[in-house]
């Protein structure tokens, strides 16, 4: 099992040809797009979508959707009327009036980029039958930002790279792959830090290559990074076994017995334990449990889980409690 790939994601940016793009939209245009897209989405019999208007959602609920990577922070704080359709399994979300009229996103755990692309492509085909897409023969799908024109496709992987980070190789890797048209971002996307040694890798180029080639390119570079991470882990084990064992067991110990823990500290420790399990050092728990925790420890999701609003201090106590329960 390859646990270095935490999630796979495909995003397609689409716009309607008969409405100004979001930067030039007024309230009427925004509602128009939402209404039309909602009508079309509800016609789809293959997936069951729930539909939410962002402004009608409480702030905490919006934050939950951000932490689950179902909407972007930009959509949550959008000044214009925006919405999102989310399928029942929470793998697919269609953001309406983000930077583009439509952002079709499919996210799966593990290395499932092909499956994500097939879903996104199928939903795109369906929407296209009922909505006039902004498309040009020469430039392909017309997007709000020139960096997305063409396929409008972003294929990305969330990678867990603790050994490469620990050995200080990440800067060099990032420098190299950005030259190959690949972007590297932190946990929450653009501008965020690689908290918990989680890195998001995605294509930069969207014009002049077919979708399959773009995806294959990201996959191929990701595979090389995975190989390097595996080698780095082997090196850590052969050269610094005692150090690694101490590090991952300390992390496990704190997670298992702490009574008060911040999301940042938890994220770092989960990263260490996750690596420990993957290296065969820790056998007391599983990667699956750690991945559940990776989601649950986040500030809004934890409040959603307990069904009430909490102060940060209260959250830290409840977080420690929840982690202990899951690691039992």
């Amino acid at each position: 099992m390859n646990d270095i790939v935490v999630t796979s994601r495909i995003r397609l940016a689409r716009n309607l040809s008969d409405v100004p793009f979001t930067i030039k939209m007024n309230d009427y245009d925004a509602s128009n797009v939402i209404d039309r897209v909602r009508d079309v989405i509800l016609k789809n019999k293959q997936y069951h979508f729930d539909f939410f208007e962002i402004k009608k959602l409480p702030l905490i609920k919006r934050q939950v959707l951000i932490e689950k990577h179902l909407i972007s922070p930009a959509l949550a704080s959008s000044k214009i009327k925006s919405a999102v359709a989310i399928d029942q399994n929470e793998n697919i979300s269609i953001m309406i009036n983000e930077e583009d009229h439509l952002r079709i996103q499919v996210l799966y755990r593990g290395q499932e980029i092909q499956k994500a692309w097939e879903d996104a492509n199928r939903i795109d085909d369906f929407l296209e039958q009922h909505l006039p897409y902004a498309y040009d023969e020469t430039w392909g799908y017309l997007t709000s930002c020139p960096t997305n024109v063409g396929t409008g496709l972003r294929a990305s992987f969330m990678l867990h790279l603790p050994a490469l980070t620990l050995l200080g190789y990440m800067k060099g890797i990032i420098d190299t792959i950005t030259k190959l048209g690949i972007a590297v971002r932190g946990f929450y996307g653009e501008g965020s830090e690689a908290a918990g040694n989680l890195y998001q890798i995605s294509n930069q180029i969207t014009l002049g290559q077919p979708e399959e080639d773009i995806i294959a390119n990201v996959v191929s570079i990701t595979n090389q990074i995975i190989e390097q991470e595996q080698q780095a882990r082997l090196r850590l084990l052969s050269e610094n076994r005692a150090f690694v064992e101490d590090k991952v067991y300390r992390a496990y110990g704190i997670l298992k017995y702490a009574r008060n823990i911040s999301s940042n500290e938890a994220l770092k420790l989960i990263s260490d334990v996750r690596m420990g399990i993957s290296m065969g050092i820790i056998k007391e728990t599983t990667i699956d449990k750690l991945d559940v925790l990776l989601n649950l420890i986040q500030p809004a999701i934890i409040q959603d889980y307990f069904g009430r609003e909490m102060t940060p201090e209260e959250r830290d106590i409840k977080r420690a409690e929840l982690i202990r329960k899951i690691l039992e």
Binding site: F21, Y135, D136, I205, L207, G208
Partner: protein, 170 residues
């Protein structure tokens, strides 16, 4: 005043450029200004700061707009090219055709390409196939006319008309 670059035509465009606090002035004719202009705006590409690099002149450089240039405006949403350059976002689908000429170098710098080769929406796919066929026939028509094969040319012309009718009907 004659153009500083070619020394032949009269200088009608006057640039003021400030790089790292050093001010230089240039007096050029329209022809040389256009050439220079495109060089000056060619800021180096950087992945992290691509928009600043691509859509704005290089850091520390202020280039005054040549006075002869008429503001390029989108027929669809009224966005000017300058507005697009500042925002880094298009205002509507028509901005692409309105700014068409200026977009090639920008796309080349971002993507290394200026032609979409990916997915074609099925609904539009047929239209695109017809348009491509018309383009091909037009070339064939020119060859036929050049070779004085008028009967063949007439046949091709009819075929083009037929396809064009099909396009407009849809």
């Amino acid at each position: 005043m004659l153009c500083e670059n070619c020394g032949k035509r009269p200088a009608t465009v006057h640039y003021t450029q400030i790089i790292n606090g050093v001010k230089t002035e240039m007096h050029l004719c329209e022809v040389c200004a256009k050439q220079k202009g495109s060089i000056e705006f060619d800021a180096p590409f950087s992945v992290t700061n691509f928009l600043a690099g691509i859509l704005e002149p290089a850091f520390g450089t202020q280039v005054l707009k040549p006075s002869f240039e008429v503001a390029l405006t989108c027929k669809g949403c009224g966005m000017t090219f300058d507005e697009f350059r500042r925002a880094g976002r298009f205002g509507c689908a028509m901005c692409y055709s309105s700014f068409s000429e200026k977009l090639y170098p920008i796309f080349r710098r971002i993507h290394g390409n200026t032609k979409h080769v990916g997915k074609i929406p099925t609904k539009m796919g047929e239209d695109i196939a017809i348009k491509r066929e018309i383009d091909r026939l037009k070339i064939e028509l020119n060859v036929a006319i050049k070779n004085e094969e008028y009967e063949k040319a007439a046949r091709i012309r009819d075929k083009i008309r037929e396809l064009e009718k099909k396009l407009s009907r849809e």
